[in-house]
């Protein structure tokens, strides 16, 4: 297992958000966290990344305990995060945004390879980052963490609010990244999308992982999943 999360608790100030999250991700897998709004999916990713100040439990990445590390140290171990709100910087142009995360290891994609995946970016290098369309901003947000050499990618709702063609493009990209050997932990609301690309799905509810469905069995278990997600 490249990532093992055990009994993870997290707090924002006094509010106790995660109540013992358990799950695993194996090397080279694409795994999703599914769950309703406010279930604690983003908080789980941020806790792994070391971005939640108060947390407890165990997060092992390649066997090393991360729970007490600050976020820049987690990043340097080889974990990269693409936030839900995308986090494109307005005072940086597209190229600066793309080159911002420093390389932490060998084996990341070259900038040319990122442009092959997302040709739109190449034409807009000098634009202000936030002048891009929503879809382009999402491509930039994903593209910039592919260069760093990080092994494990945490993607928080990369398809949120995007047109179907762009959702498809991002789906193809994730499949290619898997081919390339990246391990991906994906938060998704759109489980039609998740269904096509993920090896396994974990269901998050009220700050706990309550169920796990292998990708191949999602179709057969739709009733159960619908109940969890309330759709």
């Amino acid at each position: 297992m490249i990532l093992e999360v055990r009994g993870l608790h997290a707090w924002y100030g006094e509010s106790h958000i995660l109540h013992g999250v358990d799950f695993d991700v194996a090397e080279g897998e694409v795994v999703t966290l599914l769950g309703r709004n406010g279930a604690g999916k983003t908080t789980t990713l941020k806790s792994i990344m070391g971005m939640v100040a108060r947390r407890q439990g165990s997060i092992r990445f390649k066997g090393e305990e991360l729970i007490h590390l600050t976020s820049y140290k987690v990043a340097r171990r080889g974990v990269a995060f693409c936030p839900e709100e995308r986090g494109i910087f307005a005072s940086l142009d597209v190229e600066e945004n793309l080159l911002l995360p420093p390389r932490i290891a060998e084996g990341g994609l070259s900038v040319e390879r990122v442009f092959e995946l997302f040709p739109n970016l190449k034409e807009r290098l000098r634009s202000q980052g936030t002048k891009l369309s929503g879809g382009e901003q999402q491509m930039l947000a994903i593209g910039r963490i592919l260069r760093t050499g990080a092994h494990l990618l945490l993607l928080d709702e990369p398809t949120e609010g995007l047109a179907p063609v762009i959702v498809q493009q991002i789906g193809r990209t994730i499949a290619e990244l898997k081919q390339h050997g990246f391990t991906i932990l994906l938060v998704e609301q759109n489980f039609r999308f998740a269904q096509k690309i993920a090896d396994r799905h974990y269901i998050v509810e009220h700050g706990r992982v309550v169920d796990m469905v292998p990708g191949a069995e999602l179709e057969a278990n739709m009733g159960r999943v619908h109940q969890y997600l309330g759709v």
Partner: protein, 295 residues
């Protein structure tokens, strides 16, 4: 003797030169304030005191160890910058969780303490600092006499300001700084040690103030309240230029120095207040400052 608008050119260009000199110091100091404010969100009220520390550091280097002006230009910013690093680590850092007002109060208190200690020790009268022999003398340009040291101060501070601007707006390090100004949590999650960057940025801003202090010594004399007198005007410059804007603080610093100088020629009665009048007008018309963006 030639005249422009009925003013002798010697007097006109003389005041213009004084304006540019003052503007050099306005620009250097407001630049440091802008850099600090951008990343730390703290208005560094100790800036004037740190400028004064730079001048005193140069004075001690010369009179206690015989190290002259060029040494002081290097050593004083580093030494005072290190005190800035210590202040950030021990006093400012614990305040980041609280309202920004606490940082302002702390630095204001520090300024009073530092200036008070120096006044006790050295009184209020200025101590002379000689112009280094390489920069004495001057040139007669025909329309005016240009002292070499003053030309050096204008050129050097312009160069430092532009180099700082270049570093922040055009380099990778500067991209980290700009990004961390917007979203420090995310920049840190990319693997960048943001707390250390904040500490070094404060040290750099403080070092700039000290550098200005060293350059000011030979012109204004070295005295405990030299910073307190200047910093009030510099805050007005910062408000006019727009809080946190790098180019804004450079352009406004030099520009207001020149305007102040010209006011002395054409309407001397207003020369002490013109900057504050401009500040009031700018605040009414463009509250975020000429180069600022509304947050």
């Amino acid at each position: 003797m030639t005249e422009i608008f009925g003013i002798p050119t010697q007097a006109l260009f003389g005041q213009l030169l004084i304006g540019l000199i003052n503007g050099s110091f306005y620009a250097l100091l407001s630049l440091g304030l802008a850099v600090i404010f951008g990343l730390l969100n703290i208005i560094n009220f100790a800036h004037g005191a740190q400028y004064m520390l730079g001048a005193f550091c140069a004075y001690f280097l010369l009179n206690k160890w015989g190290l002259g002006y060029w040494w002081a230009l290097v050593i004083a910013p580093i030494a005072v910058g290190i005190t800035g690093v210590i202040i950030e680590r021990t006093m400012l850092k614990p305040l980041y969780k609280l309202d920004h007002l606490y940082g302002l109060l702390l630095t204001f208190g520090l300024a009073l303490v530092i200036q008070g200690l120096f006044r006790n020790e050295f009184g209020s009268s200025g101590l002379p600092y000689p112009i280094t022999k390489e920069l004495t003398g001057g040139h007669n340009l025909g329309f005016m006499f240009l002292p070499t040291y003053r030309a050096w101060v204008i050129v050097a501070s312009l160069a430092i300001c532009l180099a700082t601007w270049f570093m922040i707006e055009r380099t990778r390090l500067g991209a980290y700084l700009r990004a961390a100004t917007e979203n420090p949590q995310l920049v840190q999650a990319f693997g960048i040690n943001v707390p250390r960057m904040i500490t070094l940025t404060y040290g750099f801003g403080v070092g700039l103030a000290a550098l200005a202090g060293v350059m000011a010594g030979p012109i204004y004399q070295v005295s405990p309240q030299m910073g307190a007198d200047l910093i009030i005007v510099v805050f007005a410059v910062v408000v006019i230029g727009g809080m946190g804007s790098i180019m804004g603080s450079i352009v406004t610093g030099f520009g207001l120095g020149v305007i102040e100088g010209l006011t002395k020629v054409f309407y001397p009665e207003a020369s002490n207040t013109v900057i504050f009048i401009i500040m009031a007008i700018v605040l009414l018309i463009k509250p975020a400052g000429l180069f600022g963006t509304q947050k």
